[in-house]
């Protein structure tokens, strides 16, 4: 079926089976391999993307359900204004193998945006942990990721 949506600011018109996972359409049809498959069942968050501003697991979304949606993947994070988060991850050593990192960045960016909307202060380690509770990391032990999200949010605020 015909499905049209925007990814990282660019419009796309595709003819694909409607039940195919958004994750597969991104990686295989569109070559956007920044979004990773860690579990394929919505438990690990490695496939996190933004759909209409909300962070979701792309492995659970039939592509027909993003008809007309505005999607942001990690490839589009810098253009969306997320570079301070990315820089913080690099500078603070918050990535080891990097498999969880795109998902962590998208969840962190969504967290920052949610705080900006509600007026809540993003600089709270407990709230950062809660916002990233859907993202698993097997390498780092999370501390440097929390540090990087904190530092990145502080930079975004300036």
């Amino acid at each position: 079926m015909k499905v049209a949506f925007t990814i990282n600011g660019r419009p796309h018109d595709l003819d694909v089976p409607g039940a195919r996972r958004l994750l597969d359409v991104l990686r295989e049809d569109l070559g956007l391999t920044g979004t990773k498959e860690g579990c394929g069942e919505g438990e690990c968050g490695a496939c996190s993307v933004l759909v209409d501003g909300e962070v979701v697991n792309a492995c659970l979304i039939p592509v027909a359900q993003v008809q007309g949606a505005d999607i942001v993947t990690v490839e589009g994070l810098e253009a969306a204004g997320g570079k301070p988060l990315q820089d913080a991850f690099v500078q603070l050593g918050a990535a080891q193998c990097g498999a969880c990192t795109p998902g962590m960045l998208m969840a962190a960016y969504a967290y920052y945006q949610a705080c900006a909307r509600t007026g809540e202060d993003p600089l709270d380690r407990d709230r950062i942990r809660a916002a990233l509770a859907g993202n698993l990391c097997r390498c780092t032990g999370y501390q440097k990721i929390i540090d990087a999200v904190w530092t990145g949010c502080e930079a975004l605020r300036r």
């Binding site: 919505g42 438990e43 979701v56 697991n57 492995c59 659970l60 359900q65 509770a133 859907g134």
Partner: protein, 292 residues
């Protein structure tokens, strides 16, 4: 046998009437799907059989939203747990439902998972179900042939993942009567971790006090029976008593005769028995703290 996603037809009605017409025409050939957080996982594991098609309700805006009426609150079936979790009306009138919504999965799941899907999926561990059981919810079902049909929540489940939903019907909304003033509701969930966990035990409590006495009470548990259950004999022993967390120990024997937990991959019956009493104690304590 598992049918690959690429071979499953996908219907995307835009209105409730279109959805009901498709449901009437396709029946069990097309499986209703909303956020997909249960069904996309089941499809992958082969647990769906081999559906010929999905009937997507995600795009039916008629089915989404929270509306405060004069004497009840209405929640559209495809309202997401994220929307429920940040709703001021839910927080004010059905506080425990917001608590449950914020314990579903994680933020990525809450942004897609719907209360209707949680109900129709009918897992005994569905997070919203103990709350709906204690607030006298009504489920509104619809079909092209018969129009609307209202089912009290307690009559909806007939067995493990079995519901009275007929194959030409869709769940369209949930209606919750506004409780009397001074009604307290709370929800508790115990799992392997704080997020992204199916519960080992869950409980919801509704209490209205007159002075320090429990004048009205409802108590429901999840993950301790084939369906969510109310515990009427435990409720009867709590009724009229002065509110105290120590009531939990007093009624523990009755509580443990009303639940039928099993050993499974997540937990044991013995653990579930012990923790159920603990959750009642915690809920009573929270209620006492809230009434100050």
């Amino acid at each position: 046998m598992n049918r690959p996603l690429a071979e499953i037809e996908f219907f995307t009605p835009a209105t409730l009437n279109e959805a009901l017409a498709l449901r009437d025409a396709e029946r069990s050939r097309a499986l209703p799907i909303a956020g997909g957080t249960d069904l996309m996982v089941l499809q992958r594991s082969g647990g769906l059989g081999a559906p010929r098609a999905f009937l997507s309700l995600w795009g039916v805006e008629d089915l989404r939203g929270i509306t405060l009426r004069e004497n009840r609150i209405e929640i559209g079936a495809t309202t997401t747990f994220a929307q429920i979790g940040r709703s001021p009306e839910i927080d004010r009138h059905v506080t425990a439902l917001g608590e449950a919504a914020r314990r579903v999965g994680a933020v990525q799941i809450q942004n897609r998972a719907t209360i209707g899907g949680n109900i129709v999926n009918g897992s005994p561990a569905g997070d919203s179900l103990p709350v709906l059981a204690v607030v006298n919810a009504t489920l509104v079902l619809a079909s092209k042939a018969r129009g609307l049909r209202k089912v009290p929540f307690e009559a909806f489940f007939t067995g493990y993942r079995q519901t009275v939903l007929q194959d030409d019907e869709l769940l369209v909304r949930i209606e919750i009567p506004l409780p009397p003033a001074d009604t307290w509701t709370g929800f508790e969930k115990v799992g392997s971790r704080r997020a992204q966990t199916i519960s080992k035990v869950m409980a919801a409590l509704r209490v209205r006090l007159e002075g320090d006495k429990i004048a009205d009470v409802a108590f429901a548990c999840g993950s301790v029976a084939p369906t969510v259950i109310r515990l009427p004999r435990t409720e009867a022993r709590l009724l009229g008593r002065p509110l105290s967390e120590h009531l939990a120990d007093e009624v523990a024997d009755t509580l443990n005769r009303e639940i039928v937990p099993i050993d499974d991959l997540r937990s044991t019956a013995a653990y579930r028995r012990f923790v159920s009493v603990g959750l009642l104690r915690r809920l009573l304590r929270r209620c006492a703290q809230a009434s100050g």
